[in-house]
Amino acid sequence: MGVININQLTKAYLLGLGQTKIVALEGLDLEVKEGEVFGFLGPNGAGKTTTIKVLVGLMRPTSGTAQLFGEEGSNAKVRSKIGFLAESPYFYEYLTALEFLAFYGQLFDLSKNDIKQRSSALLKQVGLESSENVQLRKFSKGMLQRIGIAQALINDPELVILDEPMSGLDPIGRKEMRELMRALKSQGKTIFFSSHIIHDVEVICDRVGILVHGKLLAIGRIDEIVEEKETLEDAFMRIVQRGVPK
């Protein structure tokens, strides 16, 4: 059994006054194994964020299941084993970096001492130790992304789910994020992340999945997905174009 198990997951919305039905995900099957770094690729509107939202319990599936460690993400208990960073995250800007991490630590029932130790280690790890008493409203986008990663790791999670973690980061920030993900992998953590940036996926992922219009069109190791003399970007373009309805 994988750390993430998605079986026949379908998510449909009713939009607008006419209640138009939009199918965001259709019969998605996916398994992520322990210790893997899994890259979830797809163009805008493919359903990556919807999949992640169902996984972490922010959305309910229309049909099918999305399980973490054998439990639905809507079960609050199972969420104690995960760390999550949303896409372009917004945080409580009136909090200082330390207060911010302490708040999330309390949601995991961590002791004051644990929160103090974890917060100071994480702020050092993400390079924000000199800003620990600065309110988040004064943070740049890159700093917010880094404090976002720190909150996702406050509980020392077994599984880290990141939605577009590289978005808005400059090349240095992206490199640091890749290094951080490698460090997490070396600690035995499972990482599931979505991205638009194919190069990042190529250099750090064990396996990738390509989602187009709510359907998983390819899944496997990069060498299983690319054809001869193809880069992952070429393969991505080929698969996406095949998946776009004429």
Binding site: K53, L58, R79, I82, P89, Y90, F91, Y92, L107, D109
Partner: protein, 260 residues
């Protein structure tokens, strides 16, 4: 006890909000300024200050409860801060309870500061006229307690609207509930005089569904030293608690079923 972390965070958020300070300073200025107004009447200065002060506490309490209450959940949705919180091991009902408790704490602190301001103004008035400084109406606490109950109820109304609509609409709905809640006795009287039976039933239904907020208004009785039975406090408190429980249960029912 994760709701406590949410409550403390909400309290921290509200006390760092400039709106709160603007309203609080304005309220204190009004309460303090009533000492000037009181000079217009001879012999009734304390009554005027109490009337004016209690009305200010009520008005500014309501403004704070509505302005901050409607943003409790809708602002978290609009700003997407909710995504990170709800991905943690906290139930949605517990989160709602934390938000509610946090704002109640803010309201408690504000109401206490305004009440302290009112007592200070009354003492200054006593001092000014050469009367014993501490000889001020102790029963103001009773009136402010009832105001606080009303604020708690209005905050629960705001929280309910906040779970399924935008901040602006929630503010309009909560304000409407507050206004209708104060004229609900008139609604009942009006229902009996309506020509069509269906309209009368509708108006009566509104009367029974919406809270009767005039129950919480004992300002006049306190200022004019009319005694109030302890049973009245017990029944009104029970009424508020029951109403708040129903409102929060409905808010939790809606909130648990929402997709974000």
């Amino acid at each position: 006890m994760k709701w406590r972390a949410v409550a403390i965070n909400t309290f921290r958020e509200t006390i760092r909000d400039k709106i709160l300070y603007n309203l609080l300073i304005f309220a204190l200025l009004l309460i303090g300024g009533s000492i000037l107004l009181a000079t217009l009447s001879i012999g009734e200065q304390a009554k005027i200050i109490m009337d004016f002060g209690l009305a200010s506490i009520n008005l500014f309490g309501i403004l704070i409860a509505i302005f901050l209450g409607v943003g409790l959940v809708s602002k978290e949705i609009e700003k997407r801060t909710l995504y990170t919180v709800l991905s943690k091991p906290i139930g949605r009902t517990e989160f709602l309870l934390g938000k509610y408790a946090g704002l109640l704490l803010t309201l408690l602190v504000n109401t206490s500061v305004m009440l302290a301001g009112l007592y200070l103004t009354l003492m200054l008035n006593q001092f000014r006229w050469g009367l014993p400084v501490l000889d001020v109406e102790a029963r103001l606490v009773e009136a402010v307690f009832m105001t606080y109950l009303q604020l708690s109820l209005i905050t629960a109304v705001a929280l309910l609207f906040s779970t399924f609509t935008t901040t602006t609409l929630a503010a309009i709905f909560t304000l409407s509930t507050y206004v209708i809640g104060h004229i609900s006795a008139d609604l009942l009287a009006m229902a009996d005089k309506l020509p069509t039976k269906s309209t009368a039933i509708l108006v009566k239904a509104i009367y029974y569904i919406l809270p009767n907020l005039s129950n919480f208004d004992i300002k006049g009785l306190v200022v004019h030293k009319v005694p109030i039975e302890p049973t009245y406090f017990f029944l009104t408190t029970s009424y508020a608690l029951l109403y708040i429980t129903l409102l929060i249960a409905t808010a939790a029912f809606i909130f648990k079923r929402r997709d974000f």
